[in-house]
Amino acid sequence: MDLMLHFDGEDRLDDAAVDADKLAGLAEVREGVRTYVELKSDELEPKFASMWQRIERRIESNGHAPTADDATSTSAQVARAVSAEAQPAGWFDRFKTWFGDHRGYVLTSAVTAAAVALIMLAVRPTEVKPGEPKIVRVPGPTKIVKVPVQKIVRVPMHQGTLPAAGPAEVDSLDVSEGTSGAVLRIPGDEGETTTVIWLSPEEDEL
C-alpha cells in the first residue's frame, strides 16, 4: 500500500524501501488500464454524440418529431424574428399576423354571425300593422301616396274540403210548371240555420 502511495506521488518512501521491480509492474498495469479505457471511450463516442443530438432536438421541438428541414426552418424563423425586432412592422402587418394566428376563431365568428343574420331576415315580421301608412309606388309619373293600410285577411280558395260555414245558399231556383217553390230557413238549437226548399205541386202527386 505504501508502495502504491509512493507510486501515485502521494507519499514518499526511502529509496531503500522501494522495490524497483514492483514499481515497474505497477507502471505497466497503469498503462494497460489507461489504454483499455481510452480504446473503449473512443469506441462509444459516436453513439453518445448521436444520443445527445436527439435529446437536444426534442427539447427544441417541444416533443414533436423533428424533420429534415428543422435546422433550416428554425434558422429562418430566428432570422425573421430578428429582422422583425429590428424593423417595427406597420399596423397592416400586425393585423395580418394577428389574423393569421386567430384565423380559426375569426372565421367561426363570421360564419355564426352570417347564420344569425339570415335567420333574423327569414323570421322578421313583414306584416304592416293596420293604420300605419304605407308607401305605394304608382306607375307613370313618379308620385308617392301615403295610404293607411287596412287589415288584410287572406281567405284561401278551397277546391276540396272546406271549413264549417253558414247555411246553404240558393243561387238559383227553377221549378216546373204546376209546382211552386219557397226557400225556408229553419233555426236550430245551437244558433245554426238550415235551408229548405219547400215544393208544393198543384197536381198533388209526385
Binding site: V155, M157, H158, Q159, G160, T161, L162, P163, A164, A165, G166, P167, A168, E169, V170, D171, S172, L173, D174, V175, S176, T179, G181, L184, I186, P187, G188, D189, E192, T194, T195, V196, I197, W198, L199, S200, P201, E203, D204, E205, L206
Partner: protein, 158 residues
C-alpha cells in the same frame, strides 16, 4: 356509422313530411256528398235511428211538425272529386242529378236537379252547401191528393 344514421334519419323525416303533405293535398281534393231520402208521414211518432241527430232536430221543427213519422228509404253517398263531377242518384220516388261547380264562399256549389217518378223535372236549383250542414228539399206528396205523406231529401257534403 353515426353520420350514416343521421343521414338516414333526415331522409326518413323528409319522406314522412312528403307523405303527409301528399296525403293532405289528396284529402283536400276529395269531397263527397250524402243524400238521404226520407218519407215523412202522419201517425205514430217515430224517428228512424239512422237519421243523424242534427237532422232529426230539424225535422221536429216547423214546417215538419205536421208529420210525426220519419223513415229513411234511401241513403246514398257519392264522391265529387273535382268541379265538373256529376252524379246521378236513383230515389224511391224519382231521381236526383248532382253536379259540382267550383267552390265559392267556403261552400260547395252544386247543381241539384230533382225529377219525379215519371221522369219529369220538378226542380232545378244551384245551391252553395256548407260542409257538414244539411240542405233540405221537401214538400212533394207521396200520394195523389194527399198531404199525409211527403218526401224529404237531405243533402250534406264534406
Amino acid at each position: 356509422m353515426i353520420r350514416f344514421a343521421t343521414r338516414l334519419g333526415l331522409v326518413a323525416i323528409v319522406c314522412v313530411a312528403l307523405l303527409g303533405a301528399t296525403s293532405t293535398v289528396a284529402r283536400a281534393k276529395q269531397a263527397s256528398c250524402a243524400v238521404l231520402e226520407i218519407h215523412a208521414s202522419k201517425g205514430k211518432r217515430h224517428m228512424a235511428k239512422n237519421i243523424p241527430v242534427r237532422l232529426a232536430r230539424k225535422l221536429r221543427r216547423a214546417p215538419f211538425t205536421a208529420w210525426q213519422s220519419f223513415t229513411v228509404v234511401r241513403a246514398v253517398s257519392r264522391p265529387f272529386a273535382k268541379p265538373g263531377a256529376a252524379q246521378s242518384i236513383a230515389l224511391e220516388r224519382g231521381s236526383l242529378a248532382l253536379r259540382r261547380f267550383p267552390n265559392a264562399n267556403n261552400q260547395y256549389k252544386l247543381q241539384f236537379v230533382l225529377k219525379n217518378r215519371k221522369g219529369k223535372r220538378v226542380l232545378k236549383t244551384r245551391v252553395g252547401v256548407s260542409p257538414k250542414r244539411f240542405f233540405l228539399v221537401a214538400g212533394l206528396p207521396l200520394r195523389r191528393g194527399s198531404r199525409d205523406a211527403i218526401q224529404v231529401i237531405a243533402l250534406s257534403c264534406q
